[in-house]
Symmetry: D3
Subunit: 276 residues, 6 copies
């Protein structure tokens, strides 16, 4: 069977750019077909209302809606619309979404909250397209190298497996903490794991400074240093996550979980070997 997955992207978090690619990293997975629908950087109710219904024609087996802050007006509208459909749906969001956990439970929605996918320093005096891309690069590095993205992969792969098997889909209820991310990271060396936890926590703390800089500070001479500092922390977190992975590389213990010929996730650690 080919499982049909509809992914709606409204606005952007660090996980957004690769959410579809995580499921089919070499574009050769036979048992899924993915369509993405997005409203670019904007995520107002207006865009959301236009985009969400586009998934219907595709008749997906399940849907994913990914955006910043699941509690903001646009994402709230998306949850409302998806809740009404009889397509199983998963909300992927960042830390502010943790507070909407119970609401999503009630709405019959699954969720994956990536705690350390932080808000960007969205001030005109700081953020241009280049700085935005750099920040996304750093966060992507952290999420990948700490294990957070593998946990996302694993979680959605489980849903795919259920759909593929014709089973009822059990929607995920997942808050990705540092410990859970690092667990999925599969670190063999405990110092590498500690660095991964540290990197994930550092990335999480970026949000505090960015919020202080964006919403709680007046005067560009005052808020620019704060959002600039936040992005410096993101860069440090990326470097530290990279240190963690380099340790595993140095010991030839990097865990890899590629999708196999039939589409199921495989596993390997010795580099010069075939995945099982």
């Amino acid at each position: 069977m080919v499982v049909k997955i509809a992914i709606i992207k409204s606005g952007n978090i660090g996980t957004s750019p690769v959410i579809d690619l995580l499921l089919d990293e070499r574009a050769d997975r036979p048992n899924i077909d993915v369509r993405t629908f997005g409203s670019g950087a904007k995520m107002n109710p207006e865009q959301v209302e236009d985009v969400v219904p586009k998934i219907d024609a595709f008749e997906p087996d399940f849907a994913i809606f990914i955006s910043p802050n699941p509690g903001a007006p646009g994402p709230a509208k998306a949850r409302e619309l998806l809740s009404e459909k009889d397509v199983p749906a998963i909300i992927i969001g960042d830390a502010p979404g943790k507070g909407k956990k119970d609401e999503m439970d009630e709405q019959g929605l699954g969720y994956i909250i990536v705690m350390s996918d932080p808000m960007i320093g969205a001030k005109r005096e700081w953020l241009d397209p280049t700085e935005m891309a750099i920040f996304n690069s750093d966060i992507l590095k952290v999420l990948a190298e700490t294990g957070a993205l593998r946990l996302v992969q694993k979680t959605i792969d489980a849903v795919i497996a259920q759909a593929d098997a014709g089973e009822a889909i059990e929607l995920p209820k997942l808050i990705i903490t540092a410990e859970k991310a690092a667990e999925a990271g599969g670190f063999a060396n405990p110092y590498a794991k500690a660095k991964a936890i540290a990197a994930y926590e550092m990335a999480g703390s970026v949000a505090n400074l960015d919020m202080k800089g964006c919403f709680m500070t007046k005067g560009f001479e005052n808020f620019i240093p704060l959002v600039a500092a936040a992005h410096e922390i993101a860069a440090c977190a990326a470097k530290l996550a990279q240190e963690a992975r380099e340790i595993e590389k140095a010991n030839d213990t990097v865990l890899r979980t590629p999708h196999m010929k039939e589409g199921n996730p495989g596993c390997k650690t010795d580099l010069i070997s075939k995945p099982q």
Copy 2:
């Protein structure tokens, strides 16, 4: 006026994840509305034929199709379909697309060829979702910090400006070389510029090793070291691009080109200042 932009993503290159975000980095640009449509990692004619027509209902002012290798069957089909529509369309692709330049001219399509947006090491024994995300992070860093993404931004912003002004759209014909990327990077320090050129060229050379590893080498014990080496070069390129930017930061000469209140691109270099 609000310019409507339809972006189709089939498969993925380093520029893909941020192409829509580059145009509206803080989600507050008043004069554009973007919709994205994608087929996930896959880019076969089958997916392309399904996705491309989805843009019609949005009635875009212009369309962008972004994918690896514009000459591959899927992207070729996309070019054919877009060429037939009367919506101005721009193809964004990687180095192999350079050879389709004349064909795209004849098809009435604009194009942006990002020469150093290299093929990934797509072998199951190497590439899992985590490694894929890391590679994309590194390439994104290179493209952002060398100036390549600013050149993409600038090029599409020019198209938007024409549409916004109700003028006829002059489709871009752009091959992004190291020199052109670094020029757009706006480096004040010549060693930073040299590092940017070097980083861009290094990223470009990743493709050679990845192609050798993916298509020209038999035996996993032989091709794994090659694709692994290719990704090491990508990581080095990212670090070198970062060095370039750190020099500009140290001299407070980082160029920033955020979108302004009306949606037009602004410009600033002194960090503690407002863009003009």
Copy 3:
């Protein structure tokens, strides 16, 4: 006049090891005489009650009590004892001390709260004397290079100046935030300042993980990764603070505030110059 300063150290925070040295960095300041009295690593009421009275014989012009958490039983006892003496006294402590601000006001005590002088990962399975020294080295680096220690210096130098001039001592009421530290750091380059702010905030966040690891987590297999992660963040903060200073060095704009021949603080930035 020679101002006599009694310093009591109970337990240790990052500022403790150098508090006396900050006032007389080359041991040639003519207008102060310092005595320190300490109870080593321990800071229970029992030790505090024994140590505090030792300052009397020295007849100091003012006293400093430095310890972790000014609200803990030992430091609380110290505040009580010092409050009763007619020697002006300043409490120096870490973030938990912020909550004792009003109490100290009422006790007629001055205070300096170093917000990013974080708790160490005090678990036997992690912390040995070597790890303890490494952590102190990292925190000392952060406090010095972000400007926090200069602010401590400046604040106590002001008290010394008053005592030296025979004026009434105005006790300091200072909470050292990232912004205040970086201000005192005197960074000429705004990215260096941002890195300093980031480093200071990162050091502050170390306390969260250490507290979680030390007090809120059961099982050494669970808490070791947390305190290890906390120390990794401290190490990153030290490296980032160093980056900030290296930028200033590269531009020959490092601010230096040595004590001058008469004991007053001087100032210089060009390296090859004399302080004024």
Copy 4:
């Protein structure tokens, strides 16, 4: 039994700030009680004569006097005073103290000479409180990560054990060379050990340049570059020592010697384990 230890600090060397903390890193060692007495940065006979007698009231089981250059007038006076008491006493000092070895033997004093605890660049045009703290941070890092501080710990722990057991105290006669420090460092990897030896030797060579800059060079334009160079070497030594430790971390072979529940030193290497 609770062993009572009096520590006198006059002036400062890299070991001074943590000498008391090394003995009770988590402030929970039941079998010692420590008092410190210091004269701040100054170490003239005048201060020494005032401070040394203060230990008497505490009735210590043994005393430690730590300062730069045990042969300088102040420390010489301290040795004289301590030699006359019937409290066992240990002198801790830096390389110039090596020449006083025989004299200390005759005085009935123990000693620990930390060969690579170098003189600071004590020129007003260079050294302000911030630079002083940075230097101390770097030296502390070197001493901790090369194993020198563990050797200090071990040596004094042996004295404590004797006192605790009611045995006669055998005073240590120890010159800490690079080889002895690295031996105590417990490096499992021989390249890590070599890096530790190199770092320790580099730190030792700092003293040569600082002495040349401080005492043998006229003109600030001539001596500033020398003391600045000396501190650069200290920073390099710290980084190299850190490399040594990172290797051990990457192999999970870091030796830890925390104090155990009864106060005796324990030992562990696997990070996720309990010390024995």
Copy 5:
């Protein structure tokens, strides 16, 4: 027997400075005697014609001619002259020499082509003696740490062994690719090997940019950035090669092949051991 080796150096490639030292790294090898003859930086037919005949008086068992581009006029003349002698001769050159492979076969010459010993950025506006030395340092690092120089050593050692044994000399026909270099490098860790391959390929790509800058670009404002970028890549390659070796050091698996007491090559990996 003592094998007599004549080495002619005309112009310089990265391998040139150490070619004689590779054969006798501690100057204690009993079974060879080496003479070198060179024409400095110049390699025109005029110099070559003067230098080559100088080897005759030494009556070498075999000769080595090392220079850039074996196809250039000077080296071509050298090949012609050596081909006519009845001394076995080996040409060592860089990548452009690959095209002269068959010609050298016909000339009865052996050859070693070091594919990643790249052309320098030889423009007056860029290259002074200092920059030249830095470039040579970087390339030397790459060649040593990737294994390329060990392969050169091994290849010539085999010739020496034949001469020493009085056997006919089988002249080497060797093109040193990344894979062959890394094989000789003896990396135990596959990521280290991948880094070595990457470093070697990066060094090879330096030549492209240097040739573009030196021969195909007009205007110093245009070619300086290119040759500067080329040297940045060389520096990156050196750093990456160093990373590869540091991994092997961290695992104590560095292969060493020193010459033994009789002059034959030995072998060891554990650092604290004797070679066999």
Copy 6:
């Protein structure tokens, strides 16, 4: 006029590999012709006696003899032989040569003593051809980036200029200290200069450890860590020298002294400019 320079290399120091290239870095200097004659790694009287006379046929305007330790038997023999010729001759050697200063004066020889061109760790258990090349790469980096090689260049260029002008040659008497090297380095930033001085001094201190390891320590388990440590210091020195140059690059103040069209040394600092 074309000045004819004969260079004799016996054994190797860090300066040896590039001494001829320093004079003609792009192989286009019209006013010199160079011949080199060497005995490979060996430098015994036997080789020296064979090699030195070879220069006669070339009829050089002046000669250079470069080797380790000018006081060792081989170099001593070379000095004797050169002293007897009526060709002006310059001895280039490392630190032990300083003690032969007066002797060389009496012999009518010029000299350049490179104080920080240290002895290698020449033990079979450590030094193989690969390690030897790495060490030479590191020392070459230090000598180039600190300014030492520019001082060598400048010194010999002055001799060439005299010969070229038909003037009597004034033989150089030069001891290259850290200060003199850094002066020739032309650093605009004083911290870069301090780093250069530090790097040069560190390289110098390598010799102490190598001598201790090679000549004063018994047992491979004892001397391997020492020579390994020595090479670690060399690597650190190279990195620090690189930091110095990167600062100058970041400020676009790198001094370059290429040879000009007529062969005279030129000068430039702004990268995008022509030398004068």
